[in-house]
């Protein structure tokens, strides 16, 4: 699935992925891919700017930690505002999904179906 298809949902997906602990960019990207059954295999060029944007908005916080002997790693965790935004994002997605399903999967009487010319 292309990144454009996720437009408007990427922030919530990233917040959900970061939920529950500190994770670095690569792990977040992998989690998105694995949790979506391989459908959301997004390029890093999409993930990092989105994480930085969420950080600027105060929804996640990035911290440097040391791994191994010398390597520094940046990990992200949700802030309180991020948790609130995630709850709102989930609720908004449920409403959206219910509404879209209601329209797309509705059984319509034949009279309302478009007629061929």
């Amino acid at each position: 699935m292309k990144a454009e298809a996720l437009k408007g949902h990427l922030d919530s997906l990233l917040l959900a992925t970061v939920d529950g602990g500190a994770h670095h960019g690569y792990a977040i990207r992998e989690a998105l891919r694995v949790d979506s059954g391989g459908r959301f295999d997004l390029p890093s060029g999409t993930i990092y700017p989105a994480l930085y944007r969420l950080e600027r908005a105060g929804l996640v916080v990035g911290r440097w930690t040391t791994v191994g002997e010398r390597r520094q790693r940046r990990t992200y965790e949700l802030t309180a505002a991020g948790r609130t935004a995630l709850v709102e994002g989930r609720s908004s997605w449920r409403d959206f999904a219910v509404a879209v399903s209601a329209v797309l999967l509705a059984e319509r009487p034949a009279a309302l179906r478009p007629q061929a010319p």
Partner: protein, 233 residues
């Protein structure tokens, strides 16, 4: 976060590290350099690339091939740099906005004190302030917009990163224009054989310092640069 997590971090193969660093030098050449933020971003990419390489190596891929595969998965240098440039520009815009928010009242106060208490030609200077006032109003509005649209409030406003960058450019140009007009007034005072008071020297110094600061903050936006990213403990 659920789902399978990535591989353990281990010592990286030197040849694989060289491949990763070469790629990051290519990304760095396409980014505005000179800022700690850019260096941090490159260091973060490096760690994640090495982690991806380690994951593939643990799965049996030869280290250099693993590094190349990790890079291919990341995206080409230009694509990554293009996506990052927007965000780096917004962070730079925020720094410019905050600098102007802090220095604006200080520089303004210096000039007001100088004009009202430090010259025999106060009337002429008051006219100059009237001339500068619209520039100040535009600069203040653009500064406010920059700070609001690039910070925490952006969570409600939406990701208006282009707006933040444009507003910071307008704010910087307005502040620079105002400073240059006032410095020109000072120069005119000197040419008319008036000796400006120490208050004018202080105000002129404040404006000059701000111009230099704005130049330094704006410079990485046009300068792209070199070597690679290493961040070690």
């Amino acid at each position: 976060m659920s789902g399978q997590r990535a591989a353990p971090t281990g010592e990286s193969d030197p040849a694989a590290v060289r491949v990763v660093d070469e790629y990051l030098r290519g990304v760095a050449r396409r980014l505005p350099m000179g800022s700690p933020v850019t260096r941090d971003v490159l260091a973060e990419l490096r760690d994640d690339l090495l982690e991806a390489t380690a994951t593939l190596t643990a799965g049996g891929t030869e280290p250099v091939a693993a590094a190349r595969a990790a890079i291919a998965d990341f995206g080409d240098e230009e694509t990554i740099a293009r996506e990052l440039r927007g965000e780096l520009g917004t962070r730079r815009a925020r720094r410019i906005g905050i600098t102007l928010l802090v220095t604006g009242p200080l520089v303004g106060l210096c000039w007001l004190v100088a004009v009202f208490f430090g010259t025999a030609h106060a009337t002429a200077w008051r006219w100059l302030l009237v001339l500068v006032a619209p520039v100040i109003v535009i600069g203040a509005a653009a500064t406010g917009l920059t700070v609001v649209s690039s910070g925490r409030l952006s969570r409600w406003l939406g990701p208006y990163t282009v707006m933040a960058r444009r507003a910071s450019a307008i704010a910087g140009i307005a502040a620079g224009t105002g400073d240059l007009l006032l410095l020109a007034g000072c120069a005119a005072l000197l040419l008319s054989s008036q000796r400006p008071s120490a208050l004018f020297a202080l105000a002129a110094g404040a404006s000059t310092a701000r111009l230099v600061l704005l130049g330094l903050l704006g410079r990485p936006l046009v300068r792209r640069g070199p070597p690679a990213p290493t961040r070690t403990a």
